[in-house]
Amino acid sequence: VKAGDAALERLIGRLLRAGVLMSSACLAGGLLALTISPAAGVWLLQAGLIILIATPTVNVVLSVVEYAWARDWLFAAISTLVLVELLAGAWGALLFYRAVVTKPASGFSRPAIADPARRRIQNPSPLTASRLA
């Protein structure tokens, strides 16, 4: 335990609270908007989900910065390693997406509404991804 640990914990708490509140506001707004304007509702739902999914990664980036700022190089390296693993996983997922889905991927901008015709397999896990590649 070092002096900056409590401060980092509070900082992470604030970041996660912001992420989870923004995402929930978008999701709740999206559900309500669906009844009035489906297009706006879908857009808000997508925004909410992307904020939700991105929040833990932003949190790891924050840890890297904070540990580096405190010149705690061991933990800066450890959190960088976590970040690299997350990005490698996301990159692998993107490659898998390109391999499985016929149309070229436009990444996050594509609305991920379940469309059975676009799904080639029922249960893609990283494993099936590597098997298909």
Partner: protein
Amino acid sequence: VPIVTPLLALIIFTAGTAAGGLGALLGIGGGVFLVPLLNLALGFPIGAAAAISLSAVIATSSAVTAGRAGKQLINVRLGMVLEVATAAGAVLGGITAQLVAQSVLQRLFGVVTAIVAVLTVARVNRRNVMSDPDADPGVLGGRFFDDETDAMVVYRIKRVPLALGASFVAGNLSSMLGIGGGVVKVPVLNGWCGMPLRAAAATSAFMIGVTATGGVIIYYLSGQLVPVAAAAAVLGVQLGSWAGVHLSPRLPIRFLKMLLALVLSIVAGVMFVRGMS
């Protein structure tokens, strides 16, 4: 994929509330219940069920960590070290799945969970805190104010390789079964690595968001995440984790451990049944 009617959304919202509450009390994301509920009871394909569950796990992690931060229950350093193993486990989940069939994995998971449940009950009175509040917790240990005993408590982390191994397995299971892996991490950290349950639960809740991120991206990009269902689950999680965060300091540790044992027993049963069918 079933059409998400208001009634179905309400059921998913309620399930999310329960998951968020469990996350706040025990540090587990509730994926072990959400996946079978969505898949077996509500008729979502397994990929969609896992995707919705992983979204709820991330929401639980963020909401519980935000609600807990500042009490020094979350061991960020230990969490970061274990996340290296968890994220590696999640990314390499494919290799495990090639070696072991999912049904075998579920049965194995069921048996191990049942054993851990029995051990949790057997050790319900054991405490992991050191008597001297000025003791050195070491690099990975921690110190926090325990409301129940009204005193500052210190703990050290023992058996770090075991904790790393458990986190790797948790990450592995996460991408394959759509869970956050807290159900593996919390008993191991509390039972074998010297961490008090409240600290183990808070640290696990902090970690499961990162664990679930690896898995959910694949499902999101392949269009299996049903937005309306995920939104209902996430909003339910908000309510449940808010309630759980405010309730948990008032609950005695003995109650939390018995609840953990009960949850583990149910998980063991659910996994065993899923592995058989």
